[in-house]
């Protein structure tokens, strides 16, 4: 089986933005599909299993999947669900740039990220990041880097809907209180930030 034939056709992948094609991702030298063809935002439930089942590459000995899921509580309050909003064009562009940077930095064979918009129920996935590389250290590091940057930089916001009927836009990035610059962030993956 050739590397390119190990990937499904775009239409086979479900769970992405309504009506938008999802293309397989992989090393551009192996697979002609470009990672920016993956819709970074989805108004439909994320097909976590479907995305993972297709995230295989003959050169990858490690595949890491992160799924950020909706908790049933926040700051001591019962949560019914979240609602995500995004400035779509810039979020798509930024996530594409983050994936491209990670692919180069860690020599990834696969880098995928999809984030939900709209209502997301408790227990459902709000964001998925999949990375695949020759060895696990790169896949782990890249995965953490990607989700860290998405959380800090991508113009995506969550509104918590609480059981008492209230709602709150929250958990905003507040790095500027330390860096003094709204464009500068403190990442968990920064070596200086490690415990």
């Amino acid at each position: 089986m050739t590397p390119s034939s190990s990937y499904p056709q775009a239409a086979e992948v479900s769970g992405a933005s309504a009506g938008a094609p999802v293309h397989p991702v992989g090393d551009a030298a192996v697979n002609p599909a470009h990672p920016s063809d993956i819709p970074a935002l989805s108004a439909e439930p994320l097909d976590v299993v479907g995305l993972l089942s297709r995230a295989h590459h003959p050169g990858a000995g490690a595949v890491v999947l992160f799924s950020g899921e909706v908790r049933d509580s926040n700051k001591g309050q019962a949560v019914l669900g979240l609602e995500y909003e995004a400035y779509g064009p810039l979020a798509e562009k930024l996530i594409g740039e983050i994936l491209a940077e990670a692919r180069g930095k860690w020599q990834l064979h696969i880098a995928v990220a999809q984030h939900r918009v709209g209502r997301v129920a408790v227990g459902d996935s709000a964001v998925v990041v999949i990375t695949a590389s020759a060895h696990r250290s790169e896949a782990y590091a890249a995965n953490r880097y990607i989700i860290d940057r998405i959380k800090h930089e991508a113009p995506i916001w969550k509104c918590e809907h609480y059981a008492d009927g209230t709602k709150e836009w929250g958990n905003n990035c507040n790095c500027h209180t330390v860096t003094g610059d709204i464009h500068k962030h403190i990442y968990e993956t920064d070596p200086k930030h490690q415990p």
């Binding site: 909003e85 995506i156 916001w157």
Partner: protein, 77 residues
Amino acid sequence: MKIHVYAGLKDYFQAEFELREEIANTDELRAVLVGINGNAGPLLSTCRFAVEEGFIDKNFKLNAHDTVVIIPPSSGG
């Protein structure tokens, strides 16, 4: 100048509106918006701005035909 706001800023402004004032940069824009709704000041001070799908800084020269997107701190994930 067209203004688009998101997330918590919609508690203070309509999601999309237009300003007739001459506004040269993001500092001036922020001041105009605080003049419209002072309660938005603290949040506005933490917001990024974008024009044509790219972030801009305070040195970016705005013009009357721009659509400026005001971006509160991210809270995705």
